[in-house]
Structure formats: C-alpha cells, structure tokens
Amino acid sequence: MPGSRVLLVDDEVVFTRNMSKLLTYRGYKAIAVNSGDAAIRELEQADFDVIVLDLKMPGMDGITTLKEIMKLGLFTETLILTGHGSIDTALEAMKLGAYDYLTKPCEIDELVAKIEAAWEKKEGQG
C-alpha cells in the first residue's frame, strides 16, 4: 500500500535508481542499495515493509543476503528479483523464507502488485 517502506537491493545502480523513482511516484518510500552488505546495514538502521532482493550480485549474493536478513528476525517480507530465471534458486530462496519471486524485466505494475501482496501478508501476520 502506498506509504509502505520498500528496500530495493540490486547491483544494477541505474535499475535501482529508476525503480526507486517509479515506486516513489506511486507513493512508496523506496530506498535503493547496491549490495547485500549495504542492505544489511540499512535494515539494521531502519524498518522496511517489503524488501526487493536481486539474487545475482557480486560479493554477498542474494541467497546469502536473504539468510542474513532472516537471521535479523525482522518483521518484513522479501520479494526475489532475478534476471537469471533460475527456478531452482528462486525456490531455494522461498524455502529460506522469501515471499515470492519475479523475473526481470518486469513491469512496474507487476512489481507493485507483488509488493502489495507481500505487504498484505505481512500485515495479516501482524
């Protein structure tokens, strides 16, 4: 829902910047970071409703980042975003606690729909 806090984690700087702008236009509070480490640091400092996490990143990859996020025990939902389309990895991520996954390239409306669904799940749990 607009106003939700969304953390975008992707090593593609332009993509996270653009996606951040698009989400902001749609009323979300989007923060973009470009690595797994940066995401963990950001999560330690602020609360987010939904995390959009790229799987393939240099350094700490998406799966490792997700494991670290889960260790933090945050009240948040994670969406996996991948350009690789690897079902096995996506399924592994969901097994680790991710809510759902999307494949690149995806329309902003599609992402928004997934964010909404994730937010509703989070709120439902709360």
């Binding site: 593609e12 332009v14 993509f15 653009n18 996606m19 702008k21 698009l22 236009y25 393939k56 350009g83 690789h84 389309g85 690897s86 079902i87 096995d88 399924l91 969901m94 097994k95 494949t103 690149k104 390239p105 995806c106 329309e107 902003i108």
Partner: protein
C-alpha cells in the same frame, strides 16, 4: 527402438561422410577377407590333416591286406602244386621200388598200378616202363607208343642220370603239351624207367582256375620264361612269356611291373605280381593283377576322400563366407548404432553448452532490458506529469515509447525462450488426456491454419491412457511443431497436418506423429534442425529456438523425438512420451508441488 534425436534422411549423406563411408567400406572388406581366411585356415587345416592321416592309414592298411592276399594265394598254390608233384613222384618211386622189372612189365600189374593212380583223380594220361635201350617194356594208356624209342629224348638222359626227373612241358611224340615224371630202378644189371605222363588238363586246373577279379591270373613259367600252364589273359601254354623272369630265389617276392607288353604287343597297364619258385622242377609260380584293380578299393576310397575333402572345403568356404558376411553386417549395425549414439552425445553436449551460454546471455540481456523498461516507465510517468512541447512531439513520443515497448517485449520473448531452452523454467506435472489435449491445441491453431489453406486431420487412439506430464510444456512442444508445420506450407495454396496418437503399452509410452504436406527439409538441414538459432525462416520471423526448445522439453519429460522428411513431400515428427515422467523430473518438481 527410437532414440533421440533420431534423424532419418532421405537425401544425400552429410558432408565428409563419403570419405568416411569409403574408409569404412575398405575396413569392412579387409575385415571380411581376414575373417574368411582365418575361418578357412582354422577349419580346413585340421580337416586336411585328419583326412590325409586317415587316408594314409587306410591306404597302408588296404595295401598290406592286398599284398597279404597275394602272398597267401601264391603260397597256397605253390604248396598244392608241390604236393601234387611230390605225391606222384613218391608213388612212382614206391611202385618202382616194390616191383622187379619182370613183375612190373606184366601187363596186368602196370594196368593195376595205372588204375590205382587214377582212382580218385584222373591225374595220369599214361604209365609206361621203358628199358635201357629206350623202348617200352610195358605201357598202360591210350597211345600207341610201342615203336617209339626215347633213348635220344632230353628227359631220358636226365632221368637215367638223376634217378627222378620231372620235365618241363613238351610236345613229344604225341604232339601235344605234356610233361612227365620219371624214376629209374635197377634190378641187378637191368636198369629200367617208370615213366608217368601227367594229365595236362588236371594239372593245369590246379593253377589256371585261380580267379582274382577281372585281371587277376596265375600261371607257371619255366626258368626260360616259357608258359607251363596257359595264362588266362594273353599268351598260351609253351609260348614265351614277356614276364621278366629273374634268377631263383627262396620265398615269395612282390613285384611291381610297368611297361610290360601283352601277347598282342600292346602295353599292359601297371601290374602287381607275386611270384615264388618251385624247387623241383624249377618253375616260377606267378600270380598277378592290374594295379588299378588290385588296389581298386584304395583308389576308390582315395577318390571318395578327395570328393569328401572338396565338398567339405566348399561347404566350409560357403559357410565361412556366410558367417563372415553375417558378422560384418552385425559389426556394421553396431558401428551405425555407435555413430548414432556419438551424434546424440555430440548433440546433447552441444545443446548443454549452448543451454548454459543461453542462460548467461538471457541474464545479461534481462538486466539492461529491465533498465530500459524502467526508463520507459519513467518517461511515461514524466509525460503524464510534465507538459509536452506540442501535439506532434507528443505523438512522436507516444509512438517511440510504444515501439520501445514492442521491442522490449520481443527481446523478452527471446530471453524467455532462451531460458526455457536452458530449462530454467518452471514445470508442473499433472494428469493429461493427450487426445483431448491435442484437440485443444488443434482448436487453438485451427484459425491460423485455415487462413493458410491448411486442414487438420486427427487419428487419435481411444485406448491411449492419461499421461502424467507437464501440460504447459507439452503445449509448447505441439504449438511449436504445428506452427512449423503450417509455416512449411508457405507458397503452397493448401495442405494438411495430420496428428496421430498410438498407445505403446509394451514400452509404456504414447506416440504422437505430426505429419505435414509442406516443403520438407533438405538433407543438408535435417541434421541441424534441433540446433539452437538454426532457422530457415526470414529475418524476424523465427528465432531458431522452436525445435531446440521442443527437443529440450521432450527430453526433459523423458521422451524421444525423431524426424523423417522428404523434400517437396513433407515432414513427419514422431514424439514418444512416457506414461509417467522420469524419476529425476518428479523429484526436482517435488518442491514446486509443495509450494503450490
């Protein structure tokens, strides 16, 4: 059994194949020759050795048996003749010694002795008592010889000198062949001779009746080689024989005679002769036979052995050629199978490598695509919020963004296909009624087919059981195949696509044939149709991934795909799908089901 990808070409072989085929042909020919020679060598040599050994043994045995037979004949007849002569000599001596001259010249006494001699066998022609002066003192017999004087006859001196004399055959006064046995006896001053003329016919029967085959005969020769009995073949009694008489020897001698001439002057064939000398008189008993007849059995056996060996050798040759040909056929089949498996392996390896590459390329393209998409969205958002400089600019702006969207979607389709090809897509196993499923696919494609003048025909096996498979992947397979089948009719006003299903319960698989009447695939292209990015369609009309994806999906579902094509006539794809998916696919999907 169908394997994958099984490509049946009806055209020429692939490039480079002729050299390989010629090389293979030469190898098979060499292999054929070696096998045949080896088989013949291994079979014929023992056969020849055994045949030769048996034949040698038999020949030696038969020869010895034949020679023994000859020796027995000669020995037997020599004894009989000697016994005859000894008996008569002894009897004459007995009569001479038990009678005085006066007693024996009594006509009745000599007649009685003559009759006693001939009591059992008419062996004497006559019996006479001859005085020292050479005239008969007494005579019992059919001839009138009273006036004859024998004092100058050759035998007279001999008997007077030796006391016992057996003559050779001679004509004498009676002018017919005969021989005599004579003994001398003295009574005081009176010396007289008791002479018996042997019945020639009776004596000759002892020798001449010997019958050995057609060419075998027995006869007696004196030391000068004159016949003492008539030979059965060639020559007559008292004629000079061509038989080479050698000096006296003890025992029996075997001789091989070659180049002898008969009485008619013609050269006789090679003969085997067995001879033995009589002690008194010095006559040579000869038993002989043509070599060919004597050893006829051996020659017959040899001939048959030769025939047997020839027939056996011929049989071995034929069998070895047939067996070798059969073996070479098997080797050829195995080689073809190995080639096919190698091709499959290469194809699988190639596809696996390309699959990995495709996945990487898709990922690298997806990221910039995602950025382009967000940039487009930002522009759209900006256009909504910020004023445009004019309607023309707005129109151009909208048009360009629309085109950007179209091209993004196009790229997206390509990357999705690449990912699907590289198996990085999700599967879901469900129960599928293949016949119903194919009808739906046909319905889906019917409009497009009709617009191209193509009719669908279905021949669906009602006995086909439901499959456990992935309907979305199957849909992809058949949509691709049918799309290709429709496209194959480009340039043709009409055509057809026939879908046939068959249940193969034995192999627990369903077979689907998709046959079209399109342009067909050239042999040069047939080997490459499953290669990614290979297409014969125009630029922008095909990505070249359709059949690669089909192949990839069918393989993943545990099935096989094969293709037959005749350029200008059409193409038929045959897909075999298992009733149940392979274990590895079920396991990999277990997590997906759990999530669902």
């Amino acid at each position: 059994m169908e394997q994958e990808p099984h490509i049946v070409q009806n055209g020429s072989a692939a490039a480079g194949a002729p050299d390989m085929a010629a090389q293979r042909k030469a190898t098979y020919a060499r292999l054929f020759r070696r096998f045949v020679w080896l088989t013949i060598l291994c079979s014929l040599v023992p056969l020849l050795l055994v045949g030769w050994g048996i034949n040698l043994h038999y020949t030696r045995f038969a020869r010895e048996r034949m020679l023994n037979f000859f020796e027995t004949q000669v020995e037997y007849h020599r004894k009989i003749i000697e016994m005859f002569l000894n008996e008569h000599s002894s009897k004459l001596q007995l009569i001479a010694q038990t009678h005085t001259r006066d007693e024996i010249i009594e006509p009745k006494a000599l007649q009685t002795a003559f009759e006693v001699f001939n009591k059992d066998l008419w062996s004497l022609t006559d019996l006479g008592v001859i005085g020292e002066h050479g005239y008969h003192l007494a005579y019992a017999g059919p001839y009138d010889l009273w006036s004859r004087n024998y004092a100058k006859e050759f035998w007279f001196a001999q008997v007077m000198q030796k006391g016992l004399y057996i003559s050779d055959m001679f004509m004498g006064f009676r002018k017919e062949p005969h021989f005599i046995i004579a003994v001398t006896q003295s009574n005081g001053d009176q010396k007289w001779i008791l002479r018996a003329t042997i019945n020639t016919e009776a004596f000759r029967s002892l020798v001449e009746n010997v019958r050995i085959g057609k060419t075998g005969q027995a006869y007696l020769l004196n030391a000068e080689g004159v016949f003492q009995t008539s030979p059965r073949l060639g020559g007559a009694i008292m004629e000079k024989s061509t038989y080479p008489v050698e000096s006296y020897h003890e025992g029996i001698q075997i001789r091989s005679l070659e180049g002898l001439k008969g009485a008619d002057g013609k050269e006789r064939p090679r003969q085997i002769a067995c001879q033995a000398w009589l002690k008194n008189p010095r006559w040579l008993l000869v038993v002989k036979q043509d070599y060919g007849e004597a050893f006829g059995d051996v020659n017959y056996a040899n001939a048959w052995t030769l025939v047997f060996l020839h027939v056996s050798a011929l049989s071995i040759l034929i069998v070895s050629v047939l067996i070798t040909r059969h073996m070479i056929t098997i080797v050829k089949r195995r080689d073809t199978e190995a080639d096919r498996l190698n091709d499959q392996l290469m194809q699988a390896g190639k596809l696996a490598s390309i699959g990995e590459l495709s996945a990487g390329v898709a990922h690298e393209i997806n990221n910039p695509l995602a950025i382009i998409l967000t940039e487009r969205q930002l522009l759209l958002d900006a256009a909504r919020q910020l004023p445009m400089s004019g309607p023309e600019f707005k129109a151009q702006f909208d048009d360009s963004l629309s085109q950007v969207d179209i091209q993004i979607q196009r790229c997206k389709r390509i990357t999705q296909n690449l990912l699907r090809f590289s198996r990085r897509t999700e599967s879901l196993i469900e129960t599928v009624d293949l016949n119903a499923f194919l009808r739906e696919v046909v319905d889906l494609m019917d409009r497009e087919a009709r617009s191209s003048g193509i009719k669908f025909f279905t021949e669906l096996d009602p006995a086909l059981p439901p499959l456990l498979s992935d309907p979305s992947q199957m849909q992809q397979v058949f949509l691709n195949l049918i799309t290709n089948a429709i496209d194959a009719h480009a340039g043709k006003p009409y055509g057809s696509v026939r879908l046939t299903t068959r249940a193969d319960d034995e192999r627990r698989q369903a077979k689907v044939h998709v046959a079209d009447t399109g342009s067909g695939i050239s042999p040069a292209h047939l080997n490459r149709i499953f290669d990614p990015f290979f297409t014969t369609k125009g630029v922008g009309k095909g990505t070249g991934l359709g059949l690669s994806i089909v192949y990839s999906i069918v393989k993943r579902l545990g099935g096989t795909i094969s293709v037959q094509s005749e350029p200008g006539t059409g193409t038929e794809f045959t897909i075999a799908l298992p009733y149940t998916p392979p274990k590895e696919l079920r396991e990999s999907l277990a997590e997906g089901h759990a999530r669902t």
